[in-house]
Symmetry: C2
Subunit: 108 residues, 2 copies
């Protein structure tokens, strides 16, 4: 494994029309939440972390979602409070935030 | 680790102006190469794989780049021949393509 970023986080910011039956992370504030995540990582001193946008992660019904690699932990990150917990409890504290974690892929 | 996609590939397709000193993956055909990667994965029968776009991965000088998670292997994937090798040799064959691999982060 080559580590350029630790952790490397991908936030879905894909935007579908507001009336799309599956919804989308972008239509639920995904990009603004990613910007908040970037600020939060910086404030927490996680200088090796990187928060990238991703295209559609196909977990739309649970959106906004993000995934943390290389750990492979998926989260529902629907608001600022969720991002605060993911950073403080998981990335700083080292404990998975179980009630925000996604462990089941969306079935279509 | 929760595995929704195996492997989960992120291709940089970030586009800067053509005269930007660092260059960019998007200006070097990044999005078309990602589309080719998607077709190639399908043709190789890698139905659990997913090829997402990423925002800027900040390895612009080596672009177009991609990263394969959860393995954490970075590649310079500048043309179709490179993508063919990454899929055939690494993802199907299980051998890292050493001459395309990136192991040093771009220094700025």
């Amino acid at each position: 494994m080559t580590v350029f970023y630790s952790p490397h986080i991908f936030s879905c910011t894909n935007k579908r029309p507001d009336d799309h039956p599956r919804g989308s992370c972008g239509a639920k504030n995904g990009e603004a939440l990613r910007q908040y995540l970037r600020e939060k990582l910086k404030a927490a001193g996680l200088t090796e972390a990187r928060a990238n946008v991703a295209g559609c992660l196909d977990q739309c019904e649970n959106g906004p979602v993000l995934v943390i690699y290389p750990e492979g932990v998926w989260y529902r990150a629907a608001d600022i409070a969720a991002i605060d917990r993911i950073v403080d409890e998981h990335l700083v504290g080292g404990r998975i935030v179980a009630d925000l974690q996604l462990t089941e892929k969306v079935k279509k």
